[in-house]
């Protein structure tokens, strides 16, 4: 405990004069005339694909080549025909090492950066989102927001819990600045916007 009181004491002893927290509600953050169009463009810019689902979700999934080829499919969205992993039977995340395709629901999506808000509601299957070779994210059209400020105004954190912004597929440019899709996580990411 002594390190704790030492550190807090040292920080208090030298604390600068109190400065006010700026009022973020006065910030006029960017908004877009066509939020759906901007979101779709952002998803493409971060290396993903964006599909607007007119018919059934399954029809839309059937247009994704990686879904059609997948053998082991995890879905956290109900009603996906090819889902064949019983998540209740997963006791250890290592059992998900060979997942080919994973379908995740998103609660929010942000037009300015193509990011989808994915909340994990417990259980050992969190790893599926990262171990899978390919990803699809399903988000309702009415969950689109313009920018991150609007997004965080609507977010309630699960605590304890895990949530993330996912913006496109896994990527790296660590070798000579060459962009390579599929570093450690998903090699492709398709966002399906449902109405």
């Amino acid at each position: 405990m002594s390190d704790r009181s030492d550190i807090l004491g040292a920080l208090r002893a030298v604390a600068p004069f109190a400065a006010p927290l700026p009022d973020l509600t006065r910030l006029a953050a960017v908004r877009y005339p066509d939020i759906r169009d901007r979101f779709a463009k952002s998803v493409v810019e971060v290396g993903g694909r964006c599909l607007f689902v007119d018919g059934t979700l399954e029809d839309a999934l059937a247009t994704i080549p990686e879904y059609l080829q997948a053998l082991k499919v995890v879905s956290l969205v109900p009603g996906v025909a090819k889902a064949n992993v019983d998540l209740a039977a997963i006791k250890d995340p290592h059992q998900l090492a060979d997942v080919d395709f994973c379908v995740l629901p998103a609660e929010l999506a942000v037009a300015e950066n193509g990011a989808c808000w994915i909340v994990h509601h417990g259980g050992p299957n969190r790893a599926a989102a990262f171990l899978t070779q390919h990803l699809a994210v399903v988000v309702p059209a009415n969950a689109l927001v313009h920018n991150l400020h609007e997004a965080y105004a609507r977010i309630q954190f699960p605590s304890p819990g895990f949530a993330m912004w996912l913006s496109g597929p896994s990527k790296t440019a660590d070798i000579e600045q060459a962009l390579v899709i599929g570093a450690h996580g998903a090699r492709s990411c398709t966002v399906l916007v449902t109405s």
Partner: protein, 448 residues
């Protein structure tokens, strides 16, 4: 010659490589400019980011206590370390008590600063850096040369040779896509075999007790969703008041770093997953000292985006290793002398004081002013070489006297090209004008 210049000597000796590095890094700065152009409120966002940090630093202890309370409520265990030694001891203690010998790590500049890897390896823990760039430099047994792109100093052919030796890729393979694929296979095995995962912390949210980790590769997420232990290491300055302030920094960070609108994965951890453990190590390691120094405390606002490295003409042309510290570039040069002023006295001189670093900083740190202030302080403390001090004194004396300036100007025009000059070892002296500016002006506009 300063230590920085001496260390940069081998880098600048290869002219073609120097220009290649310069271009590669400038390319990233350019991507930042493009990303910024899509955010009309960018300058206001930078000001808000800076003001939020000013506020947070004025109440840092309160926010840390609030963060700790909420993190514990979410199920995390919180540890405090006053310095690098204590930090390393805590991390090793957590691993030892649980018999962990295989650790996967995602990027953490703090652990680089604390030399955690060396400490754990000496104690028999296999540490695998899982960020691709960090794995590359770890294979080479060298530190990262850039805080966001650790292997920016290497060419793909060199990485190909390294992977041939370490991972058995075919001789001559240098395609980034295929090399990345080889690393993906190698590191998957490490993720699946790891007993614990360690991450840095980009932001710690006081109001919720959560920590936020940003990566593009997904390595922090694989490293924390497979093994049952997650250790997150953070400096005291990482705390932000609430998710609303977090939004400002997330909008600034990736755009400033790589020109992306946000990183691929921005993970919010509130406590461990069910059946797992989460440890948060909060580290001071000199930060309270910096907070106590008004002229330097703004450096604690840094969100480690590396925009100041990418824009710095000295960094781009001398490489990250020339700084001899974990964090290179302008921000590294203002932080390092706090740790050891004598050892790093040369770093504040590794700058042209052009001010570009301050112009791109997403939280408006007055970097070039701090570099300048350090020069004065180091000089006053007698830590600057005598030759530099004499030259500075002489210059000040000359610049303060018009008559001396005129005579000196004439002497320089006559003799400078013929004198031995260390400045011209890696540069060409421009041809000297025949007449002074004053004389040329008089010719053009006539006597006053």
């Amino acid at each position: 010659m300063t230590d920085h210049a001496a260390r940069a000597a081998s880098f600048v000796a290869d002219d073609a490589r120097l220009h290649w590095h310069d271009k590669a890094v400038w390319f990233v700065r350019n991507k930042r400019d493009i990303a910024r152009s899509f955010v009309p409120e960018w300058e206001e966002l930078r000001s808000l980011g800076s003001q939020i940090k000013t506020h947070t630093l004025s109440r840092l202890a309160d926010y840390l206590e609030q963060f700790e309370r909420n993190a514990i409520a979410a199920g995390a265990k919180v540890h405090w370390a006053r310095d690098a030694t204590e930090h390393n001891r805590i991390v090793h203690g957590i691993l030892r008590e649980r018999g962990v010998t295989r650790l996967v790590k995602s990027k953490s500049m703090l652990t680089e600063e604390c030399h955690l890897n060396e400490h754990l390896e000496e104690n028999g823990v296999e540490v695998v850096d899982t960020d691709l760039g960090e794995r590359i430099v770890q294979f080479r047994r060298e530190p990262p040369s850039h805080i966001v792109m650790p292997a920016i100093h290497l060419k793909k052919e060199e990485i190909g040779e390294l992977f041939h030796e370490k991972l058995g890729t075919p001789v001559g393979l240098s395609d980034p896509k295929q090399l990345t694929e080889a690393a993906r296979g190698h590191l998957r095995e490490k993720f699946l075999g790891a007993q614990a995962g360690l991450t840095g912390v980009n932001f710690a949210i006081a109001s919720t007790g959560g920590v936020v980790v940003c990566t593009n590769e997904g390595n922090a997420d694989l490293g924390t969703s497979l093994p049952p232990i997650h250790i997150a290491c953070m400096g005291v300055e990482k705390v932000v008041p609430s998710p609303h302030e977090l939004a400002v920094f997330l909008r600034l960070l990736a755009r400033s770093a790589t020109g992306q609108p946000i990183t691929t994965y921005t993970s919010h951890f509130h406590g461990p997953r069910p059946g797992a453990e989460m440890h948060i190590v909060i580290v001071d390691h000199g930060r309270s000292g910096i907070l106590g120094r008004e002229e330097y405390r703004n450096a604690l606002k840094c969100i480690r985006c590396a925009a100041c490295l990418n824009t710095c003409p000295v960094y781009r042309r001398s490489g990250g290793h020339s700084y001899g510290v974990a964090v290179a570039g302008p921000i590294g040069s203002v932080l390092a002398p706090h740790v050891d002023a004598k050892k790093h006295a040369g770093l504040p001189f590794a700058s042209s004081l052009c001010g570009s670093c301050s112009d791109v900083c997403p939280v408006r740190i007055d970097l070039h002013h701090q570099l300048f202030t350090w020069r004065g302080e180091l000089s006053a403390r007698g830590l600057v070489p005598l030759r530099k001090r004499v030259i500075s004194r002489l210059s000040a004396w000359v610049l303060a006297r018009t008559w001396a300036y005129r005579i000196f100007g004439k002497l320089v025009r006559m003799f400078a090209p013929h004198l031995p000059n260390p400045w011209t070892r890696t540069r060409d002296l421009p041809p000297m004008p025949r007449e002074s500016f004053r004389a040329q002006w008089r010719k053009r506009v006539g006597p006053k």
